[in-house]
């Protein structure tokens, strides 16, 4: 409130520099309500389509196998290499392979196999990498530098090559595949989680918790993890693509999933020799991989923005000004 006397000019001689901002009261204005994630997803058409595709793939992987029974393996040699057609029922829709096996059934089966390698591998590396990273980042010091150095070592070597060498020494089985993929991807989460934890450990609320004598395990779990989790999940979505691609490559090269099991990468490899006569055996599983990975990438790009409070507003903008994508974070590169 202005004072009674009008001696304002004296103020101009004051040696103190005074911010106008100081004159303002401290009351913070009400923030506009934060839009829900579902609505933001609906507004970004590409991300919405991506989410639907991922959901369909997940449902097929979960419920597809019981529905098709043994059709993925049932051979009908007189129905060999039939092109896609509408005349042979659901199972003939996408044609047959050289042994007369239904492509629809094989694709469903391959979806389940591919995801049963990729999802556990991603979850393992997410859990182990995040735990180690949060622990290292929160404590800092020697624990941090050792963890980071180990991550550097693993990351500085092509993951396919590690997998190739290990699968040479051990036998290529689904379990070994999951393990090797999980190990090679741990550093990605370790780095991300460490960066987040190192940033958070100096925040006031962590200090406060420490002052109350909360054990560091609890601080990490209650205060650090919830804040780091959205970032880690985004990285995991993107990493899911990478793991899937690596599994497909290994299967394609013949050192991943072994017949009679079937995965998308293996299907492409099996179809290669019939490329000139039966394109559908190679093209369709490849398309399945591309659709899934592109969807996951688009979804991850959206999630990066949606879970970042500083950037979330971009998704609520009218169409003309909305950015479509965020760059791939450097830690995602193999």
């Amino acid at each position: 409130m202005p004072r009674e006397e009008t001696d304002a000019p004296e103020a101009t001689n004051s040696p103190d520099t005074t911010d106008v901002a100081d004159a303002a009261g401290g009351a913070s204005a009400a923030r506009p309500r934060r839009p829900s994630h579902w609505r933001m997803l609906g507004r970004d058409r590409a991300a919405a389509v991506g989410a639907v595709i991922i959901a369909v793939v997940a449902l097929v992987a979960l419920f597809g196998r019981p529905a098709i029974g043994d059709r993925a393996r049932r051979q009908e040699l007189d129905a060999s290499l039939r092109p896609p057609s509408l005349d042979d029922g659901v199972y003939g829709l996408l044609g047959t392979d050289v042994l007369g096996r239904s492509m629809v059934a094989r694709l469903v089966e391959a979806t389940a196999t591919t995801l049963s390698v990729a999802v556990p591998a991603v979850l393992c590396s997410l859990a182990i990498g995040s735990a180690l990273g949060l622990w290292a980042g929160y404590h800092g010091g020697r624990r941090e530098s050792v963890a980071m150095r180990v991550a550097d070592v693993i990351l500085s070597f092509p993951s396919l090559l590690i997998a190739v060498v290990v699968l040479y020494v051990f036998s290529p089985s689904a379990l070994n595949l999951v393990l090797i993929l999980a190990v090679t991807r741990i550093p990605v989460y370790l780095r991300t989680a460490r960066a987040e934890a190192a940033e958070l450990r100096s925040r006031l609320f962590v200090d406060a918790a420490r002052t109350f004598g909360t054990p560091s395990r609890m601080i990490i779990y209650r205060h650090v993890l919830p804040i780091a989790l959205p970032t880690l999940l985004t990285v995991a979505t993107l990493d899911f693509c990478f793991v899937m691609l690596t599994e497909s490559s290994l299967s394609f090269l013949g050192i991943g999933i072994q017949p009679p099991d079937v995965s998308w990468g293996l299907m492409v490899a099996q179809g290669r020799q019939y490329l000139q006569t039966a394109w559908w055996i190679t093209v369709l599983p490849g398309l399945a991989i591309v659709l899934t990975t592109v969807s996951a990438t688009v979804l991850a790009a959206w999630a990066r923005i949606a879970t970042d409070p500083a950037q979330r507003w971009r998704l609520t903008l009218p169409k003309r000004r909305r950015p479509r994508s965020a760059p791939v974070p450097p830690e995602m590169i193999p």
């Binding site: 060498v165 991989i289 688009v298 950015p323 994508s325």
Partner: protein, 309 residues
Amino acid sequence: MIPFLRTRILSSAVPLVCVVLGVFFLARMTGNPVDLYLPLSATPEQRAEFSAAHGFDLSIPVQLWNYLTDAAHLDFGTSLRTGRPAGEMVFDAFPVTLQLAGVTMLLAVTGAVLVGSLAAYRPNSPIDRIASLLSMTAASIPDFWFAVMGVLVFGVSLGLLPTSGTIGGPEIWVLPVATLLIRPFGVLVQVVRGSMVTALSAPYVKIARSKGATPRRVVFGHALRNAVTPVLTVAGDLAVGLVNGAVIVETIFGWPGIGKLMIDSILQRDFAVLQAAVLMTAVTIFALNILVDVCHALTDPRVRQAVPA
């Protein structure tokens, strides 16, 4: 600059040492390394003979010493398949892969800098959106499928390009390089775009514009060199990842490079060659990391002075 390089060389050497030791112990972890070297059909007598000839019956420290001195002399044993020294086979294959990878990285980096800068100059413009969506797709297409599709469309259906082999004119390069290119290009476009958006919104870019600099001067004279640090890091990592791609591309197109050599030696269980190829790759990656660090120091004066912990 010198202390900086020394630190970087030391820290880049750690992975190299790990790989060298890793290969040694991995071979012995599964029990008898002789099983790795010899075909499954080998008789017990052959195994014993081989074991004695290569010192696998000695103690582990002695074996390690022999392994290290042999590796230092580039002696990696003899290929079971061809009877040639494994080291020689690797040195024959290496230039093929190096050429392929070099051409690919050159194209990927120049292309990505142009496309990424163009996209970043007007964020959210149609150009930016198309570039972003295309680069995301490019980064998520499986390279082996892309190669097979390339063969199907350009080789089989249109008959424009050869489907395999290294004999012929420039057209033999098209499909292999394109296959290797898509992923690094897709990823790099996104990285260039991201760091250019950041650089272009920096105050020093505003100041450059306030001096009357043209858009070209602003982008290439001021922003690009600041945006280059993350691009270099990622390009280095992608170059390491090219080994993954080389395995695929060389297998599909029948190029006698190091990737094909590795896959062949795995499928035919030729451990001496595999070991030589892996060690050679590790050394190359070590050199590559040093090269990236030198580039960092050249582009950023702050890096030259700081000695990383």
